[in-house]
């Protein structure tokens, strides 16, 4: 996209300054305050469709945000900014149980994996801000319920949980 309309420039300014997804209602309220009567949705749609230079505009369920186009990936990899560490098998499995079966308790994760879950793994995933607790299961001991966070979706480039890749395995009915 070559020419930005004033409202498109405003949208990009907001998304660049926010540095995080901005939800539709917030975006709408700011834009209609500063550009009353302008159809910002159409302007945003156009930005989503064409991007702007190296920027892509995307919607996820936590809001609208920017991404740098994948055509620059090789260039940016050579920048050697902080690279994510590879995940251990145990961490990956634990994350998979939480991501695909949330909300789950720690005993449920252990049941799925057939091995006790070390606190270190849950801590590691929490430190990465990928998982968090959301209430407790109403069962003895009231175990905490683990869920993934918006940061998890962002890190793996997923718009929402529905976009988790299918695994091709038929899921047997869980009887936990």
């Amino acid at each position: 996209m070559q020419n930005l309309s004033p409202i498109q420039e405003a949208i990009l300014a907001i998304l660049l300054a926010a540095g995080a997804p901005v939800d539709r209602s917030r975006l709408g309220s700011i834009l209609s305050e500063f550009h009353p009567g302008v159809r910002w949705e159409a302007a945003l749609e156009e930005l989503c469709a064409y991007g702007y230079g190296p920027l892509q505009v995307l919607w996820t369920n936590s809001g609208c945000h920017l991404r740098i186009h994948a055509r620059h990936s090789a260039l940016l990899a050579s920048l050697e900014l902080q690279k994510p560490r590879p995940l251990s098998r145990a961490a990956l499995e634990t994350l998979a149980v939480i991501a695909y079966h949330q909300p789950v308790t720690r005993p449920e994760i252990e049941h799925w994996r057939g091995v006790s879950v070390s606190s270190g793994i849950l801590q590691q995933l929490q430190d990465l801000q990928w998982i968090g607790t959301a209430g407790t299961r109403d069962s003895p001991g009231r175990p905490a319920l683990w869920t993934t966070t918006p940061e998890f979706l962002q890190h793996f480039g997923l718009p929402d949980l529905g976009a988790l890749p299918p695994t091709g395995l038929s899921s047997p009915e869980s009887t936990t």
């Binding site: 300014a13 660049l16 300054a17 926010a18 540095g19 995080a20 920027l55 945000h65 920017l66 991404r67 740098i68 994948a70 620059h72 990936s73 940016l76 990899a77 900014l81 902080q82 690279k83 994510p84 995940l87 098998r89 145990a90 990956l92 499995e93 994350l95 998979a96 149980v97 991501a99 695909y100 049941h111 799925w112 994996r113 057939g114 091995v115 006790s116 962002q154 890190h155 793996f156 480039g157 997923l158 988790l164 890749p165 299918p166 695994t167 091709g168 395995l169 899921s171 047997p172 869980s174 009887t175």
Partner: protein, 265 residues
């Protein structure tokens, strides 16, 4: 995802210099690698699942006796090498033994109940793990932020001043009235009065200036104080130093040990 130990069917495998003609079916692990090998399993169920896949067994029709003996062989090997095994591995061994016993000695069906295959629960657990491993693999294949794609960092902008706080005059009046009630007061002092005829500020300033002029080198703060100063002397001395610095009679210099020193020009 699955660990890929060396293929036992591979011809010409040598262990500790001896060629092995017959490899234990589905069991062979290079001895030195056992520790690493066990580390690669996420748990006993994972080891079991690997054994089953390795033997191309049907998860829904597990030859329990065979799997159990292979599983126990691994545990025995690990124990032999004093490897620390998580208790989960021993629990699994006990469970396998129980299933084996129930197959050998089937419980007679009571009241026409359908006899449940004791392997059912094991198969279900293995399927759950297989599902999780598939999902973990799918997650692992996803692009990752900072490795495969990048987000723009927050871009700075000129910040506008914060809006002024919500305060009105009525609030100020109320506050002042509260203060008046809290502390009915006599006259407000014109400032701090330091009543110490023996040690006035002006006198101390003169003394310090004379001292600095006479030694002709920078002096540390402690050197400027008289022996065993009380709080009043300390306070006045510091005030005097500051006043002399303000009047540019003394200069403040950084000392060698990070402390401040003063000197007369």
């Amino acid at each position: 995802m699955q660990p890929q130990p060396r293929n036992p069917e591979e011809p010409g495998i040598q262990v500790e210099g001896k060629r092995l003609e017959h490899l234990p079916e589905g069991l062979y692990v290079p001895p030195d690698a056992l520790e690493i090998f066990l580390d690669r399993f996420s748990g006993p169920l994972d080891l079991l699942l690997w054994l089953i896949r390795r033997n191309r067994m049907d998860i829904r029709n597990i030859p329990v006796a065979e799997v159990t003996s292979q599983y126990l062989a691994y545990l025995e090997e690990a124990r032999h090498r004093n490897l620390e095994l998580a208790s989960d591995y021993l629990l699994m061994a006990a469970w396998l033994a129980e299933i084996k016993a129930r197959i050998l000695l089937p419980v007679p069906p009571e009241n026409g109940d359908v006899d449940v295959d004791p392997r059912e629960e094991l198969a279900r657990r293995l399927e759950l793990l297989a599902e999780i491993q598939g999902q973990a693999g799918a997650l692992d294949a996803l692009p990752r932020l900072g490795r495969d794609f990048w987000l723009p960092g927050m871009v700075a902008h000129e910040r506008m001043a914060d809006p002024p706080p919500n305060t009105d005059l009525a609030m100020l009046v109320t506050i002042l009235q509260d203060l008046g009630r809290r502390r009915p007061r006599s006259a407000v002092p014109a400032g701090h009065q330091i009543a110490s005829p023996a040690f006035s500020l002006r006198q101390r300033m003169g003394e310090l200036l004379a001292l600095c002029q006479s030694v002709r080198r920078p002096l540390g703060i402690l050197e400027l104080l008289p022996d065993r100063p009380d709080r009043m002397v300390l306070g006045i001395s510091l005030l005097a130093v500051l006043e002399l610095i303000r009047q540019r009679a003394l200069r403040l210099l950084p000392g060698e040990d990070g402390n401040w020193e003063v000197a007369h020009d």
